[in-house]
Point group: C2
């Protein structure tokens, strides 16, 4: 269709819809009137040589003047928009992917190219939240065949960058549904890289938790490396510890997870495609998966874990990836610190063999590192953990960690929080439960992960006997206001520790 | 949880998200910080004694000041908000209905009370678009059992008002997937009410079309009656022609249709619940369904029509409603006018027996009215159409129509458009196709349905032989600007008539 309308000029309004592209236009502007656009219409928005499909919100006030339009933060970023830029708006072409989503809703098995179309349109910002939600609902509940899981994984890999490495064995590890403080990755990478296996590790930042591995690593060094820099670090040190977000590995994954999360849908098939697509894109040949099982963890039963394990291994095999899945204890946090800086202190204590280092973190990291080392063709089954322990205890792991940090831009001091407050037990008794979700909440209220030194330090483990007034945990914050947010929350009666009196 | 935060004050921004409740809050406001709310969080918003769940969009600019928040138009209306009102914002309680939607996604048959929970939360504004989309996707594609369709219909009826009438036979009619101009309802109601059957007709306004029956009736008289007034009209005249929107009959229906429409999902089972819930809520005992079948109509094949007919009849029967389904020709528009005022002229011409009245509209209305009349226990099969014809030709139908309009508040003059333009054929030939969607588009660009007199008048029917420069259709608009929008669209090469030269 010929473009007949004069362009609208962008005004910045700073409305953050998370990852939903929204365009704001006056309902009485010439484009809405002539094109017949109403609120909730899907429209094509073009700027320079970029173009996205956005949902229209109309403006019935003077927020915008006659020839102005605005974009949500996400759309603004997708189009690299600047204040005053001229945009053109038109009807979007009908999307084939919507027919394929309908086909899936009606119970048909999708062809590889149909799944690819859906994922490509997803990544290109063509699908609305409603479209994506319907695709997820139509796929969840064991409604994807094994072939469809394979096709989905491949489509997700193909939607982004894919790294290749000049090594016969490229190892990776992943934890399904993290526990607070379960920050084994920096320790494992240091041990494995020191051992001599290539482990180009990309990690995520926190989405809803008080810290992701990338947030914690950022306490030590730069993590937002570009691909050439990351490659240089890995070639030099066998490993790296970087943020995956800037690499565009399986970009479809984040977009699906965003919708799954709001609806609390965990589809096993999509989870498998999600995990494997990132690892395949990162170039892994061998993959260790840590699967904590516990009532407040993501995986709550052995049966569920077994199903997931089988599916993961079988799809990974089709991509030529050897996979080991380890079931672990998901009943309580690991380590003492929750929050980037406090977790960094735990990691540092383990790496430099501090006798006060949290033993659970050390042991869990050694067990996993041992399994990774056994991917090496020369290592016999069962001997990995001893090798890992030797590397850690000899100081070689710490040296490797420092070398990786230096290669990534230099090692930093761990910041200290200015405001702290210790919470004491109100009674004597036994700690019978620790609420992982409440810990995460308090750590976030105190400022984590944005405030690096903020968070929670646990002072007693599950099943401890405590006496009245014994310190249970300590809050850390960078401002008094944030400390008070966390304290107010606790004053409202939210309990982290469940203590039972006597027995 | 105790409310610890000072309230935020509402500022009106006039952002129309259609029916999605959105709250706008500064990302650095004390509530977002202390509660840990990020963009896309679902939050409970309370004002006076009302409370809704809205999706959070955060503001990173000076659109709002420190203690201000805003709401989308829909949320603003749900809460009856006024500028400066103080709102409180908190975490929403977990919704059981989300578990039931997940259960449906995982392929389980829902219990009656589970479906009811979902529909109640939908109507109470508790579900996000993503939740609703997932529920629709999980239900579409023949995934609802007959029992679930019954339960859904009942839950939708129970979610709103329900009318009862003091008559043994209360008739209604419905058209599935309307054709442009197929405005038989006012004629049928007039005939049937004049015959003596009770027909309390509620109709909808246009959603995506250039006119709904309520828009067209509004040309003649007031249609937004409250229930007591409607009841008085029906008791006095046996019938009424009002807008159903203000009656809150099956309010869940509009909310589901909104999401289905954006994704172009037509689930037969949900369509049946949608149609029947409105009719049951309106108190019908006998229902005639007009189902136009054609390549550009909603129902495109006989097989599809047969399936829908069977399901409609069987569910209606469980509610004690006798249902007849009539298949009709959906290959071209009915009548000449498209747009509220132009359709009103067609209706008036048929009712007052103008010899130039569109015969297709007259015949279709008589056929349907005859079928409705045969619901009457004394009328033998096949004699209804003759009775209907007698009532129309004797002037009794027109008298009844005038009486209904007067009872609804008085009969109005039909407005005339100030700007018209006749489009002539560019060549001689035969009209082999009329594009219903393009007609609707042009009528809307010309201003319908908001501008009552705007629209399109068709001057030649399908299969006509036309000569070059013969008038094909006429555009009507209330402003020159709107006329130009429609003309610009046509100049871009969009063709309403497909004309083939010679044979």
């Amino acid at each position: 269709m010929k473009e007949l309308h004069p362009a609208l000029t962008l005004k910045y309004l700073g409305i953050n819809t998370y990852k939903e592209p929204i365009i704001y236009m006056r309902s009485d502007c010439h484009i809405c009137k002539s094109e017949g656009f109403d609120a909730q219409a899907r429209v094509r928005v073009s700027l320079n040589n970029r173009s996205i499909v956005a949902t229209l919100n109309t403006i019935d006030s003077n927020l915008l003047s006659d020839n102005q339009a605005s974009l949500s933060e996400y759309a603004w970023k997708l189009l690299s928009a600047k204040e005053g830029d001229p945009i053109s708006v038109s009807h979007p072409k009908p999307l084939d992917s919507l027919s394929y989503i309908r086909s899936k809703i009606y119970g048909h098995e999708l062809k590889a190219e149909e799944t690819k179309h859906i994922i490509d349109d997803l990544v290109a910002g063509q699908l609305s939240d409603i479209n994506i939600a319907m695709y997820i609902a139509a796929s969840a509940g064991a409604k994807l065949s094994k072939k469809e899981v394979f096709d989905l994984t491949k489509a997700m890999v193909d939607s982004g960058q894919r790294l290749t490495w000049d090594a016969p064995c490229v190892v990776d590890k992943h934890c399904v549904g993290g526990l607070p403080g379960n920050r084994t990755t920096p320790i494992i990478v240091s041990i494995v890289a020191a051992f001599g296996l290539m482990i180009p590790k990309t990690s995520s930042r926190a989405i809803t938790s008080p810290a992701g591995t990338a947030d914690t690593m950022e306490v030590f060094t730069s993590v937002d490396l570009d691909i050439p820099t990351m490659r240089r670090v890995v070639e030099q040190e066998n490993g790296c510890l970087v943020w995956g977000g800037s690499m565009a590995l399986s970009p479809a994954d984040d977009l699906l997870i965003r919708i799954e999360r709001t609806a609390n849908i965990d589809s096993e098939e999509q989870m498998v495609a999600s995990i494997l697509s990132k690892k395949i894109a990162a170039g892994a040949t061998h993959l260790l998966i840590d699967m904590p099982i516990g009532t407040t963890a993501k995986i709550r039963s052995i049966a569920h874990a077994e199903y997931l394990k089988k599916l993961l291994k079988s799809i990974a095999k089709e991509f030529g990836i050897e996979t080991k899945v380890i079931f672990s204890d998901g009943s309580q946090p690991i380590g003492r610190g929750i929050g980037p800086g406090l977790e960094a202190l735990d990691i540092l204590a383990v790496l430099n063999r501090n006798p006060n280092a949290p033993q659970d973190l050390r042991e869990h990291a050694l067990a996993l590192a041992g399994q990774v080392i056994e991917f090496s063709p020369n290592i016999t089954h069962g001997s990995g953990i001893k090798i890992a322990t030797d590397i850690l205890d000899s100081g070689r792991a710490f040296a490797k960690f420092q070398a990786i940090c230096n290669a990534q831009g230099g090692m930093r001091e761990i910041p200290q929080a200015s405001f702290t407050h210790t919470i004491e037990s109100k009674k004597s008794g036994i700690i019978v439960n620790i609420d992982n979700r409440q810990i995460a909440r308090v750590a976030k209220l105190a400022g984590a992960p944005k405030s690096k030194s903020a968070g929670v330090e646990l002072l007693v483990p599950l099943h401890s006997v405590v006496r009245k007034s014994q310190p249970l945990f300590k809050l850390y914050a960078e401002t008094r206001g944030e400390l008070n947010y966390a304290l107010d929350f606790l004053k409202q009666g939210h309990e982290i520790f469940q203590i039972e009196v006597g027995a």
